[in-house]
Subunit: 251 residues, 6 copies
C-alpha cells in the first residue's frame, strides 16, 4: 500500500479556545491490543474523545451473501451512557438504537467496505465494534480512523494464519471533521466547537486521496461553494496526518 | 423571497438508457391539494418516483422547546410496501423503522429547518410526512423538494389566518441526486442508474444557491476532487430547475 | 363468474347531511394501474375515502403451508399519518400496529380468502396492501372492495402467464357499512355519520349474495332483530352496486 | 333489572360428537370469589373452557376522559401458554399481544360498556382481566359472560360502600357462539366443532334481548340469509340460558 | 428416590401476626390434574399464594442442544394482573417481561435442571409454566415446589409410554423462603412479613438435603454469619415438610 | 467508616491452572478518574476482567420517590460485544437486555443501596454504570467492588460541594465469587474455572463483615452445608482484601 496524499498550503490561524491552530488536529494516540479477545483491538484517543474499536472475524456472512464467494465488513457503534457531559440513556435499556446511532454505524461500515476487497476476504465477516468510552466531539471520525487500524490488525492475522491468500485491505481510510466556526474554517472540531459551529462536514478519505464519504451539514447557517472548497482542503490536510498515525500504530 | 441561482455551462451528453441527457432532470410534476385534511398536501412526481408530502400544523412543540418561544419543523418518511420493484416489509408490521428510513427523515427535517425562522413560526410544530407511493430512485430528494412546497402552503395558511406575523419560511430548499455512472457525471439518477453508479451524491441547496447538505458516497468506487467538483456543478443546475418548478406549483 | 344479487325494495329517504338518500352509496371510482410495480394496483375512492390497494404475487408461502400444495392470501392495512382529520401517529415510528389496524387487516385477509381457491393458486402468496391515503369513514370496506379488484388483476396476470391452470378467484367479494343514525338505517356511512351513529355494521358479501362477514356493533345503543334485518337488507343493496363497479373497473 | 328474553321454538337435534343436542349449551358453572384481591372475581367453566375473570376498580380514568365526569370500562385477555392442546408461546415473552388477543379484548370491553352507565360509574375505571386457564373453544364468549358477573360483583361493592349513587350496570350481557357444522346450525361450539365448522358467529346480547355485537365469519364456506337467521335464533336461546346462570351466580 | 432430610431442633416461637409459629409453614395443598391439556398440571396453594404449574413435553430442544443427544428443562413465570393486592400491568400488554420475572423464571429453570438427568430425558424439552393466580408472598418458592410435582407427573408419563428408558428425574427439589422479621428468624414469609422483613433468603434444596440455590438478600438490614446459619437451619426444616407434601401429592 | 473484617485461617492450596493458590485473588487494580465527565469514574481490573464503573449524580428521583425526601441508588450493566471470547450480540441492536443483564444490574443496585443512607443523599439519584470492556469471569463482582469506589468519589464530591450535610455512604461494600472446582473451594474464579465449576457463589459483604447478598448456585452439582460454610469463609477472606484495595484506591 502506497499513499499519495501531501499537505495543502493552508495558512493556520490560532484563534481557537484551546490554543490549537485552525489547521491542527487534536493530540492523537492509537493504542493497539487494548483488549485481548478481539482479532484486532484499538483504543483511539483524539483529544478527549476515546473510542474502543474492536474487529472480530466471524466465520459467517449475512444471508444475502450466502454462497456468493465473498465476505462482508460491517460495523456497530455505541456510546457508554456516561461517555457524555450529562448522562445519556442506555440504548439497550431503552430497547432501541437511536437514528443517530444507526446513521453512524452505517457510515462506518460503508467507509471500511470502500477499501476492502470483499472477494479476497473470503466468506467471512469482519465485524467492527466502535464503542465510545469518552466523548468530546468527532466520535464517528475517530471510530472510522481507529476501526481501520483494528481491521488492519485482524486482516494481518488472517494473512499470517494463511486464511486469506492476499490482503483484502487495499488502502487506508480515515475520517476527520471540519467546520465553520464564526465564519472561520477549522479542523477536527471538539464538542464545544461542534455545538457552536454554523456548518460542519465529515470527510472520509483513502490513502490515495480519494473521497469515500463527504457529509456536509448546515447547522443554522448555509454555506457557499467557496466555503465548501476551503473545508475540503482543510479536511484533506487532516487526513494526511491521520493516515501517518495509522501507519505508525501498525508499526 | 428572491432567488439567485443561474445555470452553469455544463455540456450535456445523451448517453443515458432512457434517452435523457446527462444534465436533464426527469419529467417533474407537483400537484398541490392532493389530500384534503393536511394544511399543505403535495404529490410530487419525478419520473416514476411519486411521493405524497403532507404538512401538518400541530399546536405543540417537542419537550425540549417548551416555553422557549420558538417552533419546530420535523419530518417522517415511509415507503408503501409495494412502492418498490419487489415488495418490502411494512415497517409498522416489523415493529421498527430501518436505519435508512431514520437517516432519510432526519435529513428531510434538517433540510427544511435550514430555511425556516423557527421563532417566527411561534410555539408550534410543522410536521412533514413524506410517503413514497411509487419508487424509482431519488425518493429522499423528491421528498425534500415536495415537502418544501407543502410547507410553503401550510405557512401561507398560517399567514392568511394571522397566526404568524411574518413568513417563517425564508427561502426555497430543494434536493437532487447526482452520480458517476461509468465515469460520467449524470443528474437525477433513476433506480437503474442508482444501482449501477460508482458514486452518488445528494445535494440540498437553497434558492440563494447555498448548500444545506452535501452527502457524497462512494458505492464501490472512490472519487477524486475533480469528479466531486463536476458533480456539485451538475447538482446546482438541477436545483435551479427544481426551484423554478416549486415557484410554478405555488402559483 | 356469474352474479345473482338483485336489489331489494327498500324505500330511500333523503335526510342525510350531504344530501345523499339513506340507500345511496357515496360517489365511487376505481382507478386501475395506479402504481406500476405491483401485480395489481387500484386506487379506490368512496367519497373522500381514498385507499390504494396493491396486490403482490410472492413466490413463497407462510411456514405452516410449506409443501401443502396450496397458496395463501393475506393482507396488511395502514393509514398515512395525515390521512385523518387530525394527524395520527405513524405506526412504524411507534413501533407497533394498533389493535384496530390488526383487526382490519385480519378482516381483509379473511374476506378475500373466502372467494379464493387456494389450491388453484398454487404455492404462492397473494399479498394485499391496503393503504389509506385519505380517510372519511368506511376505510375497511373500501379496502376490501378495492383489494378484490387488485387481486383480480393479479390473478388475471397469473392466468395470462400460464402460472395457474384455472382462475383461483371464484367470485366477487365487496364490503359496505350500514348503520343506525338517529334511529334510521343508512347505507355507506361517512366519518361524520359514523361518529354519531348508534350502531353500525360492516357486511362483506360475495357476488352470489352470500355472507362472508357480518360485524355489527352497538355504539352506545343496542339494536333489536328488526333493526338488524333492515341493516342487512340495506347492505345487500349496497353490495349489488359495488360489485357492478368492480366489474366495470375490470373492463 | 328485568329480563325479557324467552326461548325460541327451535327443534333440537342430537347429532353432536359429545352427545349434546344442537340447541344445548355445554355444562356451565360460575364460581364467584375465586381469588381474593380483585373487587370481583369469577371462574367460569363452559365445558372444558375455564376462564378466570377478575374485575378491578381503579380510581383513575384514561387520559382522554380526564375531567369529563364519567368512568370507563375496559378489558384485557390472555391465554396461559398451556391452556391449549399444544403449548402456545407466552405473549409476554414474545413481547407483544397477537392480533387475535387484541381483537378479543376490544370485543370484551365494547360488550361490557354497552350495558354500563359510565356517568353513574364516576371517574373510575372498571378493568376486566379475562385469563383463560383451560381452553376448549368459545373463550371470548365465556370471557364476556363471566366478566359480566365479575363486573356486577364489583359494582355491587361500589354501591354498598356508597361510592356510586346508583347502579352503573343497567342490564345483563352475555355471549355465545353458534356455527354451521356439516350444514347444521349448532349452539356453543367446542374446539373440535369450531375447527371443523363452515361458518361461525359470536353473538353478544343484553338481558333485554338486544344485540350488542354480531360477528359472523365464513370459515371456508359462505352462508346465506336463511342460515344467518337460524344462527341468530339459536344464539338467542343460548343467551337466555346464560343470563339465567348469571342471575343464579349472583344469588 | 430416597430422601435423607430430617428436621432440626429449632425452637418454635409464636409471635407472628397470623398465629403461625416461627417454624411453621403456611397451610399447603397440591392439587394434581388441575388442567387437562398439560402433560403435568398442578395447582399449588401455600396459604393465599396460588400458583398453577403446568409441565409440557415438547419434542424439540433449543438450537444450542440440537444433535447433542440430551434434553432441556426450562421455565417461564407470570403473574395474572390481579393476582396482587393492587392490579399490576399485564406484561404482554407492556411488551416485555420485567427484570424480576426473568430472574424468577431463570431460577425455576436452574432449580429443576439440578435434579434432572438431561441425557436420560432424550432430545426433548420439559417446559414448565408457573402462573400465579393469587399472590401473597413466596410465589417463586411455591412455583419451584409445584413445578417439581408437575415435572414428576410428566416424566412418569414419559416412562409409562416408554419414551424414556429410565427416570430422568433423580431427586426431589423444593424451595422455601426464610427471613429476619424484627430480628427473629421466621419460615415461609407471607406478603406482609416479606414487606417488613430486614433480610430474606430463598433456599432451594434437594431431597438429599443438598443446596441447589441459596439467595439471601439484605432488605435494608445486613445480616451476620450467625443469622445466616439460623436461617439456613430453618429453611431446611421447611424443605423437609414440603418434600413430604410432594410425595403425598404424587400418591 | 471503620472496618472489622479480619482474615480467616483457611489453608491455601496451589492447584489452579494459573498458578494462583485456592485462597488468592487475581491481581487487582483500581484506576480512579478513568473518564472525565462522570462524577466518579473507575476502571477496575481483576485479572483479565476489566470493568469501567461510572457514577453519575442526577438531580432527580424515580417517580415512586418524588417528594419523599430521600434519594435513590441504581445501576445499569452492559458488556461490550467483543469483551467476550467470542463476540456476543449487542443488546442495543437486539432491542432488549437479556435476563442475565437485568439480574446483574438489579444485584449491583441492591448491593450499593445496602450501604447508603438514602435520606442523607437527598432527593437525587446516584446512577451507576458498569460496562465490561473485557471479560474473564466475575464481572458482576468486579462491578460491585468498582462501583463502590466510583460511588465513594461521587459522594465525596457532594460533600465537598456542600450538597449533602453528612456522608450518605455508611460503609464499604465489595463482592467476590467462590466456587467448587473438582471438589475444592477456590476464590475469585476466572472464566475457565467458572465454566468448569460444580457450584459457585457470589458473596456481597460490607466492611463490617455483614452479608448483603449471598447467591449460591449449583452448576450441575449440588452442595452440602459443609461446602457452603467453607465457601462462605473463603469469600470473607477475599472481601477483606478487596476492601483494602478500595481504601487504597480512594487514597
Amino acid at each position: 500500500m502506497e499513499f499519495y496524499l501531501s499537505p495543502s498550503t493552508l495558512t493556520p490561524a490560532t484563534v481557537r479556545p484551546t490554543g490549537r491552530s485552525t489547521t491542527e488536529l487534536r493530540p492523537l494516540s492509537i493504542e493497539v491490543g487494548y483488549t485481548r479477545h478481539a482479532e484486532g483491538s484499538v483504543l483511539i484517543k483524539a483529544g478527549d474523545t476515546h473510542v474502543l474499536c474492536n474487529a472480530s472475524v466471524l466465520e459467517k456472512v449475512p444471508p444475502f451473501l450466502k454462497g456468493k464467494g465473498q465476505g462482508w465488513v460491517t460495523a456497530e457503534y455505541g456510546m457508554l451512557p456516561r461517555s457524555t457531559h450529562t448522562r445519556s440513556d442506555r440504548e439497550a435499556a431503552r430497547g432501541k438504537q437511536s437514528g443517530r446511532t444507526q446513521e453512524i454505524q452505517r457510515l462506518i461500515g460503508r467507509s471500511l467496505r470502500a477499501v476492502f476487497d470483499l472477494t479476497a476476504l473470503g466468506e467471512r465477516t469482519l465485524q467492527l465494534d466502535c464503542d465510545v468510552l469518552q466523548a468530546d466531539g468527532g466520535t464517528r471520525c475517530a471510530s472510522i480512523t481507529g476501526a481501520w487500524v483494528a481491521a488492519a490488525i485482524a486482516t494481518r492475522g488472517l494473512l499470517e494464519q494463511g486464511l486469506v491468500a492476499s490482503n483484502p485491505l487495499r488502502d487506508h481510510v480515515a475520517a476527520v471533521s471540519v467546520g465553520l466556526v464564526d465564519g472561520l474554517a477549522v479542523l477536527d472540531l471538539d464538542y464545544i466547537e461542534d455545538s457552536g459551529c454554523g456548518a460542519d462536514m465529515n470527510v472520509v478519505m483513502t490513502g490515495a486521496g480519494h473521497f469515500v464519504e463527504v457529509q456536509g451539514t448546515a447547522e443554522g447557517q448555509t454555506f457557499d461553494r467557496k466555503a465548501l472548497d476551503e473545508l475540503l482542503d482543510l479536511a484533506r490536510d487532516g487526513i494526511v496526518q491521520l493516515i501517518a498515525f495509522q501507519k505508525q500504530a501498525l508499526g
